[in-house]
């Protein structure tokens, strides 16, 4: 039995974390975003060099100079976003970077044999080697990556959120594949947010928080509540501060809204002082629904009514009607990363500071500084570029824009994704305060727990359809999930 032990001690991202993985073991790496999971795995897979600490692989000193060296030594990482060349074939992708050749001339027969053998070991020997991977489903593409790891004689395979973009059937196949890897004596490290999933795949776990290992053990006999409290570092009541609010009259009604492919025939009403949650799996059509309400995506049929008016189908007129949208993707859509905080906060409403098209930058700076204080945005000056801020502070800038806009209806798409727990608590409190002030909030999230804690009502989407809306108290995580994975048309 080959035992692997590693310990690192980087200054901030990781603080003296050590872990041990046995052959055939599956270890779950658990933690909030920013807890140091990726840093730890990047060190292990050679993408980063540790400042302190040492690693050992099969009893030998292990210090990879880069990802390629790590892969040669037997550590392979399967990233959330797959690293495949879409136009190359299955065989070429499996053998990429480890081609069999004589003096640079490819040995096709040997290539095919090794690629085929790797697929065979995963139980997919029938996959056609000539097929370009772009024609495969995401699940099968992932399989090709795993086969690549096997072909390189990997001893440890790291999975980073592997199910986040998979369909249900592909998830089952992945679990089956991981089982095979373990039977072959490979060590598996599995990173995921989903505790249920972790219970199915892994036997032991380690919880990271703020770069330190705060808890570890075997999953059998450990309660979910214990893991969550270690993960979050605070109790549920601290994380979800309650601000009392009561729903009033309807401000937004959606009738039979259909987009290019999603959403399909969605109808609902949103009231003042109400937080309506939208639950569902990735790809269920929640983002598309919100984008069609905001007129960022084209609509095939259906109506959007705000108060008593039907605003025309441009974001500009939707803003004028009182809508505001926080994008799920603050990097490539939500924020102009290279521009300043002040610019990003005021882009959607420069009118208070302009006279005849000319801006009063001083007045604008003061106003933005006020928002920065209110939302606890940590930066010396409103003129700092948004890209210099942490994820949590960037998200606060996106929210500050919505508030500065003075919107009555807030469409928040995954507003807590990828930010630290402290900021999450601030955002939950802010949502409560906004609702208490009579604003209407549509809250899209993949994280059922926060929906259950924060929302007044929750609707579930799957396959582009809005399935059912019920008061939050009538839902549980299990009932949300069972509606979210519904596949009927």
């Amino acid at each position: 039995m080959a035992a692997i032990s590693k310990s690192f001690g980087a200054t901030r991202a990781l603080n003296g974390v050590s872990l041990e993985l046995r052959a055939g073991e599956a270890l779950a790496l658990i933690g909030e975003n920013g807890a140091g999971k990726s840093t730890l795995m990047n060190v292990l897979s050679g993408a980063l060099a540790p400042d302190e600490g040492e690693m050992e692989l099969e009893g030998r000193w292990y210090a990879p100079s880069g990802p390629h060296a790590a892969r040669l030594a037997g550590v392979a990482m399967i990233y959330q976003e797959l690293n495949l060349a879409p136009d190359l074939s299955v065989e070429e992708n499996i053998m990429l970077g480890q081609e069999s050749s004589y003096w640079g001339v490819l040995d096709r027969a040997e290539q095919r044999r090794r690629a085929g053998a790797a697929l065979e070991r995963l139980g997919h020997g029938n996959l056609r080697l000539e097929m370009p991977v772009s024609r495969l489903s995401v699940g099968m593409q992932q399989l090709v990556e795993i086969a690549r790891a096997l072909a390189s004689e990997a001893k440890v395979v790291i999975f980073d959120e592997p199910t986040s973009s998979l369909a249900r059937a592909d998830v089952e196949r992945l679990f089956d594949t991981i089982g095979r890897l373990r039977q072959e004596g490979l060590g598996v490290i599995y990173i995921s947010h989903f505790l249920e999933e972790i219970r199915r795949v892994c036997d032991s776990y380690i919880v990271l928080r703020d770069g330190e290992a705060v808890d570890r053990g075997t999953l059998k006999g450990t309660s979910e509540a214990q893991i969550v409290s270690f993960m979050v570092g605070r109790t549920i009541a601290e994380l979800y501060p309650r601000v009392p609010h009561t729903p009033g009259e309807t401000v937004l009604s959606i009738a039979g809204l259909s987009g290019a492919s999603k959403p399909r025939d969605a109808s609902f009403e949103l009231r003042r002082g109400e937080i309506l949650g939208l639950a569902g799996l990735v790809g269920a059509g929640r983002t598309e629904l919100v984008r069609s309400i905001y007129a960022l995506d084209a609509v095939r049929s259906g109506r959007v009514r705000v108060g008593t008016i039907y605003p025309s189908a441009t974001p500009k007129s939707r803003i004028r009607a009182g809508l505001a949208y926080v994008s799920e993707d603050r990097k490539s859509e939500g924020l102009a990363q290279a521009r300043s905080i002040a610019d990003n906060v005021t882009y959607s409403r420069l009118s208070p500071y302009s006279r005849g098209g000319w801006l009063n930058l001083k007045r604008r700076g003061q106003a933005v500084a006020g928002w920065m204080r209110a939302l606890e945005i940590k930066s010396d000056t409103p003129e700092a570029a948004v890209e210099s801020l942490s994820g949590g502070n960037q998200q606060k800038v996106a929210l500050a824009r919505v508030l500065h806009q003075g919107a009555e209806i807030l469409l928040l798409d995954e507003p807590t994704r990828g930010i630290d727990v402290g900021t999450k608590a601030i955002i939950y409190r802010m949502m409560g305060e906004l609702a208490a002030a009579g604003k209407a909030i549509l809250f899209v999230s993949s994280y059922f727990q926060e929906l259950l804690q924060v929302c007044d009502r929750i609707g579930v989407m799957s396959r582009g359809r809005l399935r059912e809306i019920r008061p939050a108290v009538e839902w549980t995580e299990e009932s949300l999930l069972s509606r979210a994975i519904e596949t009927t048309e």
Partner: protein, 332 residues
């Protein structure tokens, strides 16, 4: 902490005045190199400096327009041929007996229309600016040749007023102007554009669009209209460059502007703008254009041949962008 802040200030200074510092260095280099060579000392004369500014003016004017376009994440390859189209239209109106006022209006209008056409096609057809303006570059050359009937348009000398003739004169009248009126116009344009980019809603929107078009859309900006406005503004600058070009040549030559667009883009890029959009300054562009002119002029004074000048200029462009990228990486 103090030290960290100190380096930050230096980095900020370097990024804001980097192109200006480079200009100063290169300028001093040529001034010294020229002074110590036998029968040198002509570089630092009023006459040479005046000539340098005059020949850089069309590039600067076009480059000012290109600055707006490039900050907004676009590119304009048609600037050169559009400029000669403007100058040719001006000459043609004079030739046909039109008044100078009419000719000027037609010239500027041609520039705006040429720019607006670029913007409309980019927005409406949703084709990359590079492709659209690559197409219009050739098309505008064709239009210019049509107007000129495939020759050079020579309006009668008496139809050109004195002030227009003097626009690009090396030694200005009155003498207290120091440099040609055209150069003053160019500096005034730079000043106004700089203020517009910083202190107007339009300016902020230009940066927003270039930095992230999706964000601009999300914030309710009318992106297609904004693009048309941006290319139209660039067209206006090209129109002014056309007036100046005519004042310099006294004829409408439909091919005189070929290659100007690349010089304009080079000036903007040397000035620290990013071809990915969202970054760039008027001051940088000004420094970039003058830097290129200084190298050309300085090399001539030193007796270096034309091919050598081109090679040095080419290396200069790559070096400027490389230095800028290293600086960016260090800032991040």
């Amino acid at each position: 902490m103090m030290k960290a802040r100190g380096t930050k200030v230096w980095a900020l200074l370097a990024s804001r005045f980097g192109p200006g510092l480079a200009l100063l260095l290169v300028f001093c280099f040529f001034a010294v190199a020229d002074a110590i060579q036998p029968n040198g000392g002509t570089f630092l004369t009023a006459r040479n400096l005046q000539a340098m500014l005059i020949s850089s003016a069309p590039v600067v004017m076009a480059a000012l327009g290109a600055t707006v376009v490039i900050i907004a994440g676009g590119i304009d390859l048609s600037a050169g041929t559009a400029m000669s189209l403007c100058a040719t239209v001006l000459a043609w109106v004079l030739l046909k007996g039109g008044s100078i006022e009419l000719a000027l209006v037609c010239c500027l209008l041609t520039g705006c229309l040429a720019g607006a056409a670029n913007g409309i096609m980019i927005s409406a057809l949703d084709v990359a600016p590079f492709i659209v303006t690559l197409g219009t570059m050739t098309a505008y050359l064709g239009f210019a040749k049509l107007v000129a009937d495939e020759t050079t348009v020579r309006p009668p000398l008496e139809s050109v007023p004195q002030w227009l003739n003097g626009l690009a004169m090396p030694s200005p009248k009155p003498a207290w102007l120091l440099v040609a009126p055209g150069v003053w116009i160019m500096l005034l344009m730079a000043l106004v554009l700089s203020a517009v980019l910083r202190y107007t809603v339009f300016g902020r929107h230009v940066f927003a669009l270039g930095s992230n078009e999706k964000t601009a859309r999300l914030c309710g900006l009318n992106v297609p209209a904004l693009k048309v406005a941006i290319y139209t503004v660039a067209g206006l600058f090209i129109g002014v460059a056309g007036v100046y070009e005519f004042a310099k040549l006294k004829v409408g030559n439909p091919i005189s502007g070929i290659g100007l667009e690349l010089k304009a883009i080079a000036a903007v890029v040397i000035g620290g703008a990013s071809l990915n959009g969202g970054r760039g300054t008027v001051l940088g562009t000004l420094a970039g254009a003058l830097l290129m002119q200084t190298i050309l002029s300085g090399c001539t004074q030193l007796g270096l041949s034309n091919p050598i000048q081109d090679i040095i200029l080419g290396i200069m462009i790559i070096a400027a962008v490389t230095v800028d990228q290293i600086r960016q990486r260090r800032m991040a």
